[in-house]
């Protein structure tokens, strides 16, 4: 009897996206602080502090300063964290504690639209945070333009990928504390082993291959290439890999949330 005879995703999902935007606009001053300050902390601590030890390093056959090396990685990490945390902790609070989705499902919205909006919102948040952060980093002259402008649409793609994975966990975990597990096993290893703070070439080849599975590795690689003004066709492989993550986890997240919420 559970027949779905009409398409359950329409552009009405924007209404849910707008709801999140309305909330965001009322607290934007607080939301804007982390992407504004975080790169400054990192650039000062790692860039200035560690630079003294590291100096410059070889990256793709040229010498780059350590600050220039990590600045794009900070952006990529920021994309991952914004989207992932939005669709884990924040979505879980809306789902479980605030029952926001229950209320929405008594309106002409479908569950698929609500979940699509959650993921698209996480990606939007990642883009907004990226714009702020990129602005700060650009002041240090660490991003080349116009190639650097492509980082914004990249943030959207990365946001969809990491948001979908986040929402997949939200549909899976029993309690909010359980998010510690995917963070410990998935986010933290990526944070350090995705070519973020040192070149992947420094790792043994088996570890390099392992790192290639991480979506963040590809996001870091594209962000760094664009920051260095390098737009080459080989980047399409990295794009394709991120896109694959979206194609797998977006429907999987919706499926999980469906199983969780529709009773």
């Amino acid at each position: 009897m559970n027949s779905v005879s009409s398409i359950r995703i329409s552009k009405r999902f924007i209404r849910v996206w707008q709801r999140n935007l309305t909330v965001y606009r009322s607290i934007w001053k607080i939301v804007f602080l982390p992407p504004l300050l975080e790169p400054l902390f990192y650039l000062v601590a790692f860039g200035v502090g560690l630079s003294a030890l590291v100096g410059s390093l070889r990256y793709q056959d040229s010498d780059v300063s350590y600050m220039a090396f990590i600045a794009p990685a900070l952006i990529a990490i920021n994309i991952m964290q914004n989207a992932f945390f939005e669709n884990t902790y924040a979505s879980f609070v809306r789902m479980y504690y605030q029952k926001t989705f229950d209320a929405m499902m008594a309106t002409p919205l479908s569950l698929e639209e609500i979940m699509t909006a959650e993921i698209v919102w996480a990606a939007t948040k990642a883009v907004l945070a990226t714009a702020v952060m990129q602005g700060v980093i650009s002041l240090f002259g660490l991003i080349q333009y116009p190639a650097g402008l492509l980082i914004l649409p990249l943030a959207f793609l990365g946001g969809i990928a990491f948001g979908s994975i986040g929402l997949f966990f939200t549909g899976t975990v029993q309690a909010i504390e359980t998010f510690n597990l995917p963070i410990f096993l998935f986010i933290t290893p990526m944070f350090v082993f995705s070519g973020t703070f040192f070149p992947l070439e420094n790792l043994p080849s088996w570890a390099q291959q392992l790192a290639a599975i991480f979506p963040l590795t590809h996001l870091v690689h594209i962000t760094r290439s664009l920051s260095f003004g390098r737009v080459e066709p080989d980047l399409l492989w990295n794009f394709a890999y991120l896109f694959l993550f979206c194609v797998i986890f977006f429907p999987l997240a919706i499926f999980k949330m469906h199983r969780r919420l529709i009773k």
Binding site: M1, R12, R19, D102
Partner: protein
């Protein structure tokens, strides 16, 4: 003009083998207030969740406004208002934003949404708190806001799941008055409640459910007359002589140990006899109520 606002035939809902709703049939007429009563776990909420398209049904057929729910869920949902059991207001938004953001889900244009929100806040006497955040409201205010939110799309059918649970008497009466006002404008209402006085006052017709099935259906007055009669004699701590007397007289009664409940028609003479012959105090004659019907049909055992 459609024949029924809601029409359910053999409607059922199973959860992993547990039968929550067991093939029930009922209909709600346009402009009618229809109640679903029953103890906890009777299947009330499961039933109305299917009606407003929240839960897919396991079996049977269900039409709202004459449209099968599986075919026209979006149209149906855009024409009904739902007041769910929990106060699932948006705590991240202000009182007025709660209504305006909700209006967006119905694709109501911004200007109209604002006008409706302002009007509804006046309607539920919350106009002065429109810029307050939801967590600042009292329980009664939140419930009224949920009620107003269910009206934002100017629905033809209002579905209320225990609308006044946890409210103080003032707030309850305010909700009732507002509901009666809306009904006079032709709104159909489907309601679940634990309060028998609420059901008697609001419902034109109702069903009492238990274990997923409908036990009885009818107008409150008819149900009372049919199942318990006109009035009730209640005796606290009855004596064995009284028990023997009642049994010899063949009057309909219920013995719950420390209390004897006698149902009947115009029992003045009987009451007089019982109160003078068998008990000096703790003996009451009162009108029969829906609560008597409910307890008689669903028993007095606790439900978890």
């Amino acid at each position: 003009m459609m024949k029924y606002a809601v029409e359910a035939e053999g409607l059922s809902k199973h959860f992993n083998g547990f039968v929550a709703v067991d093939g029930i049939s009922f209909h709600v007429l346009p402009g009618e207030c229809f109640g679903i009563l029953g103890p906890n776990g009777a299947g009330k909420t499961s039933t109305i969740r299917m009606v407003y398209g929240f839960s897919p049904m396991t079996g049977g057929s269900l039409k709202v406004f004459g449209i099968p729910i599986s075919l026209g869920w979006r149209e149906i949902k855009s024409r009904i208002g739902v007041c769910q059991q929990e106060n699932n207001l948006d705590p991240d938004l202000t009182v007025q934003q709660n209504l305006e953001v909700f209006a967006r889900y119905f694709d109501i244009p911004k200007k109209e949404a604002r006008e409706r929100a302002v009007k509804l806040l006046e309607f539920i006497a919350l106009g002065h708190r429109r810029h307050a955040k939801v967590p600042e409201l009292s329980g009664g205010m939140m419930r009224r806001l949920v009620f107003a939110r269910a009206l934002i799309n100017d629905p033809e059918l209002l579905i209320l799941d225990e609308p006044t649970t946890g409210l103080d008497p003032q707030s309850r009466h305010q909700v009732w008055e507002r509901l009666e006002e809306l009904r006079s404008r032709g709104l159909s209402v489907l309601l679940t409640t634990h309060y028998m006085d609420e059901a008697s006052r609001l419902c034109d017709r109702l069903v009492i459910m238990d274990h997923g099935r409908i036990l009885v259906e009818g107008k409150p007055v008819d149900l009372i007359r049919e199942h318990v009669g006109h009035d009730v004699i209640e005796v606290a701590t009855p004596t064995d002589q009284l028990r023997a007397f009642v049994q010899s007289k063949h009057v309909i009664h219920e013995d719950v140990g420390h209390r004897l409940i006698i149902y009947g028609q115009h029992s003045d003479a009987l009451f007089h006899h019982i109160s003078t012959a068998y008990c000096e105090e703790g003996c009451v004659l009162r009108m029969a109520t829906l609560e008597d019907v409910f307890l008689k049909l669903t028993g007095r055992g606790l439900r978890e």
